[in-house]
Symmetry: D4
Subunit: 247 residues, 8 copies
């Protein structure tokens, strides 16, 4: 209902002043004691709320999982611990946990559209890549994974080029010096979402080196997200994939 419609109905007496006031002020969230669940988020942004499990108190986590599951029939959380898995499992036994990515989810059957390719430079980057890939899948994206194709052995990357070049977008996950994103950017027509990871040591400064590499890339079409932010990459990839698929 647009603003104009609301006002017309008020004028016509179809809508009370109180009701109109509520609509215009409409909070769009459900108050919980400790948090405001953003229940209109899906309408507003096209994405359901996802739970960031790290640092959540046990009781809060349980309530949120139960509430979201009841509403949507599915629920998706990132950065969950083994302990949190066991906790949620005690009340929602169908919950599934992936210890590599830390994803804790109950997922409905759904169609996966389009194509996004998720690549990593090394094997240590896989935990972040899985967060990206499973996030995109949860939001209905078809994902292909190509792991361990870092620039110190370029032939591994080139042998998979076809798979990379026909995706709607590519997620490039890399730590250390993060050069994968630049190389990828020179090879594909579509956007490259670059995810720096905290993999590395010494002057990698917990991902800062990879972040700077990606931000300064000499290649074009590189969209950078935060260090280790697989979730953000999966979200952005889904936005782009949906556009490409006419959604």
């Amino acid at each position: 209902m647009t603003l104009q419609q609301i006002l017309e109905e008020v004028k016509d007496g179809q809508l009370s002043v109180e009701h109109a006031e509520n609509l215009l002020k409409k909070e769009g969230y459900e108050e919980m004691d400790y948090a405001k669940l953003d229940t209109t988020r899906k309408e507003r942004t096209g994405f359901a709320e996802v739970v960031y499990c790290a640092r959540k108190a046990d009781e809060h986590l349980l309530n949120i999982y139960q509430k979201l599951y009841k509403e949507d029939g599915e629920v998706f959380g990132t950065r969950a611990s083994q302990h949190q898995y066991e906790l949620v499992k005690s009340v929602l036994p169908q919950v599934v946990y992936d210890p590599v990515s830390g994803i804790l989810k109950i997922e409905k059957e759904k169609e996966h559209i389009g194509k996004v390719t998720v690549c990593t430079a090394g094997t240590a980057d896989i935990s972040v890549a899985e967060e990206a890939a499973q996030t995109a899948e949860y939001f209905g994206t078809h994902v292909e994974r190509i792991y361990d194709v870092g620039v110190s052995g370029m032939h591994r990357l080139f042998s998979r080029l076809d798979t990379i070049q026909d995706a709607n977008c590519v997620v490039a996950v890399a730590g250390m010096e993060g050069a994968l994103a630049s190389v990828m950017g020179g090879l594909v027509k579509r956007p490259v979402i670059a995810v720096p990871t905290s993999v590395g040591y010494g002057a990698s400064f917990h991902g800062l080196s990879a972040l700077l590499t990606m931000i300064n890339s000499c290649a074009n079409g590189i969209a950078v997200v935060n260090i280790d932010n697989g979730y953000g990459a999966g979200y952005l990839a889904t936005q782009i994939n949906r556009l490409a698929e006419g959604k």
Copy 2:
């Protein structure tokens, strides 16, 4: 011609070994003394080469502009100075210069498809925003501009929300604390390309503050590019816009 086709033709004697070798090694660029013009770039990436004018020697700049103009009938350069404008104008009088963005171009008539909205937080960010907007337009994107809608006066932003929400993607250009991208990310369904600018003083550290803000955004769907990198934002926006328009 695929690898298989080349090999078949070699086998059948339709292609000489020398020719095949050349095709397989095909360099895909034209050697100039001082640079390798990447003439197959358009095929490979869907984007023609753009000239980064800053730090180019006069003679090199002239040659590049003439060469690209002869090949494509148009040429687009960023970060050009007034001096470079006058230089190029002396041999290509139809060249057009925008001193705000530093863009120096000869542009063919072309169709502009889809819709990208380019926003700035303040008026000082406009030079970067124009680099983004005109880059996107050069690559065939329809652009709408909404400038000076920073978060210290949110009502200015909200009054233009319709225009922002129906774009294929939004470019948010902001210096100082760069909060515009986060606010935008909470309001739209589509990707937000965040461009930190070096506008600010003191602890803005020439754009570092805005860059960190955007990379750490609590909103989702934020794709960050380098500080002041309007060109990169316009390029990425075009990639996304093309996908959305089925190109």
Copy 3:
């Protein structure tokens, strides 16, 4: 007693030279072996001494709590651990501990004047916000809390605008990109005390990103304190609130 008064009394023989010398040199603190309790602080600054519990040895902490409680009938400590709570409770059973904020206190009934609003961007910022709120309350300020109103869902903030706009000052607590302070600054007439938190990951660099955002805010009337410094925010808010209430 002013300097002039002391000198007059010395001249008139009402005050001995020794006594005057002591007054003028008056140390204003009580020597303990390991610390100088600043017992004239309340007179000088209007605020009683507060205990920073972290890193205090058990024996020292006990002595300080007992000493301050005996003098003032109340005592307030920040950053206390569960262990310290149990320690103090064994000798001062009426002590109250809030594990979220780490505050360990015995508080007298007191009037709470004026109004300060404490807001957070997310739920993870609440521990710092509670340190701010309870500090302000301990110093006699009336506090209202509005939590989880970050900029990725601006409607949650706008629905509480009345409560925010009629406070004497607003404390805005936010981690990650810290944009809440800028948005708040554009909406209220009164000072905004911005508290960056270490909530976030990757390039948030333990609160540095939020600190830079707040320091560079394009909005005016933003007073920044140290990362996670809820206590400092509650103190400053009280100073401003007292001024507003004519204290």
Copy 4:
């Protein structure tokens, strides 16, 4: 007019839907080609718009000064150059320029209420201090200046303690190591607004050292603003001073 009142009038037919829609969408700014002058800012925040002159094009600066002067009978700009002074003077001959602080203003007679003390550590900090002091005065605050009272000669500060201690708030402006704010914070009851300056060399890193000092102050009641941000300090000081004076 509140939302409820607007809706009542729509219902009663006193207000057309179009008018109400406009009111509710009311932009609150006047569109200029290059900027959105925020003409409702004074109502919203209690402060008229101030002009940040640096980087403004000549023509834009002239228009803005003329527009604001016509509306308010006064206009206040910061970081103006000698050139800009001469420019504005050619159309507004009554304009006054202070080359030390870079302030360019036409100011109406007005009452100055309350009291704010502005201090500097050294003489090189005076340009920033004057920006703070004159900003506060423009907004109606009574200001006292105490310059060159840095901590390397504490007796200079102590001799002016009375003047410092009875202000509603103190602005402490210091570069190099910025210790003035900490010392001040231990001496006064009222808020200290700390302004780090870029005065210094070597490891002062253009004000970063002073900023860190002030943010980490062991004293309480320290509100930090950006490096060299005299304007922000004057604004914040005025907010606090108005509260103290019951405005």
Copy 5:
């Protein structure tokens, strides 16, 4: 087989199109589920693959050690833990573990050619130096160790100058201020490989200070590698040593 040879054989019918296609596309790695073992690396670079043990899952580590051992009859891993030693030992009992350097290896008898000298500034740098020395030895380099010859006691260094000056290259391992590399660079004709270590405290910032020292060395012929990167230094030293020995 060169490209030309492959094409000639295709033309002559000696090679099928499919086989040629495979050769030209030849991936050069063996797919494992979680990683792509780079089995052509030795041919391409002259160095067999080395295992970075840190962060490897137990099962993956075991498989990699067994696979590499089966192929090469030896295997070399860095940054292994005591736990990983015991794990690998359970299936490959001949494995040898050095807890100082964290190296876990099965090594064939081999000739050690040339001469590389590995020096440390202090005793705490030895763990990194051993990683360098044992890596070089694994790759067939003759190594001499000179430890604890830091610049605060230069006579210790000078007494071993002959041994240092006739090496093919010198590895200088130092933390804290890292001055050893500069001093060494002024004393030898051959390249100095400088390895900053994270040894130190306070403003050493986990090796950043030593890294900056080495990168800014006033001496020439200094090749810097990452903080604590003994492996990289041993690898680079071997490359140089092989060149010097005509390999």
Copy 6:
């Protein structure tokens, strides 16, 4: 024996070539397997070797303590753990351990000359201050301690000014914003040795803030050492104190 003397004796046949060669090459240290004990250090610098206990292997630590004790009848170590205390005590039962400073020593009776004053800003700085004070005492310096005299309560410092002003030098130990050194520098004639500590949180960045403050001090006569480097301060204070006492 000077170079000239050695050569004269060679010429006169009083000294064999071999012996002279040894003298001129004389290494001045005793080789241990893992370290070079610098046994001529005392002659060269006037200070016996001190043991940095952190990260030393148990066996090495024991050997070093026994060796140094046998030679000098005393031994002094810094940054020792409780475990190391018990270890050394098992073979040298007279060893004394101070858990606050981490000093582990056997100390001979000795005269303490001159006067050095060691001050701290807060109680949390005492561990570093004790490392400084006990180091200076070990090297024969008379030390006075004045703790908890930070700038947020200046009266505590001023009441002890006499004691501070007649020392040969002052050691100022402070974390957080580290302003104590600047204030001290303006009050005394003698050198101030400034020791930044890692005490603080948030933007103190583990002592970086205090270090920058001290390096940028507006006061003169400030000698800065590394963060938490109490040992270095005690050493430097002893050098200055000895000069002042004619040693």
Copy 7:
């Protein structure tokens, strides 16, 4: 006159209350409009005020030079420009200017006591070294200069060791990697004052690299001052030299 004496005289009527009040409040500086000349500094610290010329307005500089010259018969300024030299020369023709160090002075004949050695690593460090040397000389110190003895050619340093080892203290001035201070610290018994310079490029970060090197020195007895702070080094060297000479 001590506090006790003042009070006794007040009691005895020898001193009026007003006079005593003035004495106790005695400001110890002479008010100028723009600065507070610290005329009691010499008594308090043993050093006359020195003029920091950079950024001083012409008129202010002239007044200060004339005032100080009239009072002391000499005046010493640092960081003066050629323009400032000509300015001061026009009223004080006996002024002497050293363009290398930027020192502008009128100096009385005086005795130079003790011995301080000032060394540089390279020739580009001489401007800073001269600021240190001439400052020390102005304050009555005997100085010896040894320039261009950096660690890339250690034999140059060793050939001057005698001159270095018998100074009361050594000033080591070095840019780039700043290793000179560490080497010096291992060779002398007396304090080494380390002055990092901004000489260098790339990752020297305007002296930060040299500063970190010196702060983290593995040698003892290193007192670090700010980047390029020759004046501070000369001041500190004088303090130490005076102590050594019994002043």
Copy 8:
């Protein structure tokens, strides 16, 4: 002459004590007023002294060029300005200046041995690459140049792979994100000398980004030098090339 030989000759009376003393103390440099020319450097390190022209005073530069030319018949300077070229040319008319690299030299005919390949990522990196290439040539190395082969167009690099793979070492010069070095390291057997350049903008931070990329490279055999340090790369490449050629 070895130490033993000297002593033998003293013993035998062939060498006077004075002469031996001089030999043993032999300074190895020629004193000039402002610098110590290191004339034994060539013997010690195998490389003649090279002049760093930046910041040299005119008169000093002239003297150094004349002196070195007289001794060696050739002279080589880096970072020279046009002004310095004209200056030196006035007395040494045969001097040659390359404005791209800033090299100012008189070079003798000489043999160039071995092979070093110098590559750049872009055209803006050529100035640094030329400093490297011409330095190596001056020291007798045969150099091949391959410019503008950055990773955004990998085919340009691959077409030159043969030339790259048979060099004794490769110098990889790159700014922005500096990924060229990593890619190169995965393709060649020989050492890669990585030179980060200050080419770039925004978050490239004047070469810091490229430096971190290269230091953190996932490829092996990468030797990093300072930002823009072409000279250092050419020097190190020559050391390695000489070893490979048996010099």
